[in-house]
């Protein structure tokens, strides 16, 4: 048996000290008729070596982004993870510790959380960051709940169609058994239309959720959206891309009240979508409504600077049903990774990373649009991804033939937007080289589907 320390003699001695005849007797409090009278029906135990073989077998049935060239985005991106981040993230003093409730035994974690919060406020231009939430989508849903409770407007929340469909779905699920209605704003031009927005926000609207850049990669007029939102007394929830802030204005600059993001892009691999990092930052005025843990700086009894979890009267372990949220376990390890990532990148590194994404994605869009069948579905400025419309309406065939050539070429949009069934979303990170982009274009240009389409 792996990891059981006690020998049969130990066990006998322990049972004797307990005054029990057998281990089975220790389970006597469970009525016999409720006990399982057979072994669990699970595969037999593997040794470590056999486990390794089993995992390799499973692994051989996956084709990962190291062997395929990844142009997939949609909230999860193939960004570069510096070795420093892995080294720090695999310090087991960090990753095998619990939430830092005992401050004296957790100063390392607490200071890292404090630094994380400080980096997030600088990154976003917001006043306060918490210690992390589950992921970008659940952070957006939490932000909506925060907005309804702080504005006391439980009527509506406005969510544009160009917000990530899975974020919209998450918000809808969180609100399903509450009174708040989700008003979906159509965005036929690929960005929020100020007039449509102005018509949709009224004094019942707790918040507008703006993704910047949005799900289609398009850069929104965030100032205008903020203005319209504020005019109605609603809160602006910004769903931002952390790396875009190397170039784009910060949520705090354009007046967001709550800013949330998927933070895996700060040093955590794609991992099939999780575990990731839910970033949340807000205005000072909203801090008492903030979900999740927050670390603060204070002094100890000897007068030394130190860190603790603070403002815990917001939290479930103190306030129970009156807490701002039920969140307990968060994504601490990924907050640590993000801290290391941002420390490693620095301001210039962040700007250069953002610029590489911007330049390379524009190059890719330009090259793709040189092919007759392709055009940009939304001809507005984009940051690192864009929507390609295929005039021949053969998205599935196109992507599948690109896969045969070793490319994860894009995400078909018809699954969420029936009106965009002829479109796919292409993301280009700093990792993609010109050669990879050129061969993607080449592969799509010579796609089998074109031939069949002409037949």
């Amino acid at each position: 048996m792996p990891y059981l320390y006690n020998t049969p003699e130990d066990q006998r001695a322990m049972l004797e000290a307990i005054g029990a005849g057998s281990i089975d007797e220790l389970f006597d409090p469970i009525p016999a008729y409720l006990q399982l009278d057979r072994p669990l029906n699970l595969p037999p135990a593997l040794s470590e070596m056999e486990l390794d073989q089993q995992l390799r077998l499973l692994a051989s049935r996956n084709r990962h982004a190291g062997e395929l060239v990844c142009f997939l985005g949609g909230g999860c991106y193939d960004h570069f993870v510096p070795a420093v981040v892995d080294t720090i993230g695999s310090r087991s003093e960090f990753y095998t510790s619990y939430t830092p409730y005992q401050a004296e035994a957790s100063q390392g974690n607490l200071q890292a959380v404090f630094e994380y919060q400080s980096l997030i406020t600088r990154l976003t231009g917001m006043d306060i960051s918490n210690a992390s939430l589950y992921d970008g989508a659940s952070a957006a849903a939490e932000a909506v709940l925060m907005a309804t409770s702080s504005t006391r407007r439980f009527g509506k929340v406005v969510v544009p169609e160009c917000l990530h469909p899975e974020y919209r779905s998450t918000i809808a699920t969180y609100l399903e058994n509450l009174e708040t209605e989700v008003v979906t704003l159509e965005t036929p031009t690929g960005v929020v239309d100020p007039d449509l927005l102005a018509a949709a926000v009224d004094e019942e609207v707790a918040a507008v959720v703006l993704q910047q850049p949005n799900f289609f990669g398009c850069v929104e007029d965030a100032y205008r959206v903020a203005e319209i939102t504020a005019a109605a007394g609603s809160l602006l929830i910004s769903v931002f891309d952390p790396l875009s802030l190397g170039i784009l204005r910060r949520p705090g600059d354009y007046g967001a009240n709550i800013a949330v993001a998927e933070g895996h892009t700060l040093g955590t691999p794609m991992s099939y979508g999780g575990p990731f990092l839910g970033i949340m930052a807000c205005d000072k005025s909203l801090v008492r409504r903030m979900p999740g843990r927050i670390a603060g700086k204070t002094v100890d009894r000897r007068g030394n600077d130190c860190y603790v979890l603070t403002m815990q009267t917001r939290e479930q372990h103190i306030r129970r049903e009156k807490a701002t949220s039920n969140v307990c376990t968060n994504q601490g390890l990924f907050a640590l990774r993000a801290t290391a990532y941002l420390a490693q990148l620095g301001p210039q590194g962040l700007r250069e990373t953002a610029n590489l994404c911007l330049q390379k994605s524009h190059y890719a869009a330009e090259q793709l649009c040189k092919l007759d069948r392709f055009s940009l579905a939304f001809p507005v400025p984009t940051f690192k991804e864009f929507v390609i419309r295929d005039a021949e309406n053969q998205v599935a065939e196109l992507l599948s033939s690109a896969l045969d050539n070793g490319f994860l070429a894009g995400i078909p949009l018809g699954q969420w937007y029936p009106q965009l069934a002829d479109c796919f979303l292409v993301a280009v990170t700093e990792k993609r080289t010109k050669a990879e982009i050129d061969s993607l274009v080449h592969s799509l240009a010579n796609s089998e589907t074109k031939v069949t389409a002409e037949v």
Binding site: M1, H64, L72, S92, E93, M270, G273, T298, A343
Partner: protein, 483 residues
Amino acid sequence: MKNTRDTQTIFELSRSGRRAARLPACDVPEHNVADLLPAASIAATPPALPELSEPAVIRHFVNLSTQNMSVDTHFYPLGSCTMKYNPKRNERAAAMPAFADLHPYQPAETLQGMLQMLYEMQEMLQEISGLEACSLQPAAGAHGELAALLVAAAYFRDLGESRTKVLVPDNAHGTNPASAAMGGFDAVTLKTTADGFVDLDDLETKLDEHVAVLMITNPSTLGLFEPNMQVIADRVHKVGGLIYLDGANMNAILGVARPGDFGADMQHYNPHKTFSGPHGGGGPGAGPICVTEKLAPYLPTPIVKTLGDQFVLDYDRPKTIGRVRAFFGNVGVLLRAYAYIRTHGPDGLRRVSENAVLNANYLLSRVKHILPVPQGHRCMHEFVASASDLRRDKKISAMDLAKRLLDFGYHAPTVYFPLTVPEAMMIEPTETESKETLDAFAETLFRITEEDADLLHDAPHTTAVSRPDEVRAARQPVLSYPE
């Protein structure tokens, strides 16, 4: 030996112009940013991040790591958290590029190994819980609670029943009532008896056809198996309600008893406890939920299913509650749990619980001579001692004991939870500790209780920091390094 310089904050260590990361030159024709983006959207300067060299980054964080207690360095008997050893093979598995470098929107044909693993996880978790369906989507235990309560809400809506109440025993974890409120229910507190069990009379008065769910933690947060489990489940079912099992304490009953067999309609797991996912200094966890057949249609979407010899994601589930997050779930945590379950097998998992319960009872048999354990002389995987006598007689609190234990190289037990036990110390040794460790811990605890109260009030003495001023932290909050 203490390194004060390199544990200054990264902002103090920053020097303008220093750099760690070098990025490749731009290999595509470069445009002016102003030609690509609207002027109003462009920031004049990048955010004010600190500027460090790579060795400085490493030295800083490695030094910080040494200011932590952790399972890999210390005994960590933190009750309710199941701080067991985290096998290194699991870490290696999760880091394999064929798992770590997968994009969630890759076509299923390129993910067959991943989907197979997840499919097997669904099946194995169902078998361990004795329930019929599983969603791996929730990101932590509390998230699973919320998802399951929303499943219950959808189920009752479908039946045309309006049920507004969720019953939660007073010794439940705070996430239970918080999840109930977040899910749009009224959380109604159920009393427990002096023995720590659900008060059947109180249940009787609060149980009616408005009750949607009773959330029960079994074994409870006191480390006790609820003796009236069957009665409670029968009564709740009789009025049409559902039983939710908080599965945080599954480490006590793996292969011994199954929630589905003792009346639960839904449960979550905490794989970051029971199945050895490391806790990461706060997370990640995962919160897969299992439910009975009748609740299956409402589970979050997607779920992995088989189609011929292929594994596919099933989105075609018209009654689903939708999503509680983006993408599939906390797959990296699930993969570690998979590795854990596969290396233990059916006998091994039962052995885990047997030894977790043996260790806890052994430690209880020693601790009860030092501190009273109000609820019984036997326990499951953990027990709750009380320092209230010590507090009365010597003015030594549970917190004092907790802090003093740190001086001796032990992480403190969970203190002041559950709220029903005064001066609570919740102790969970887990199965991965040896008798010697438990003996040494008990001896230390005894020695501490004999110490001078003043010494304890000022503890810890050996840590870099002692008794942070929490009131000041809350009243004059400093939540980030000033810019």
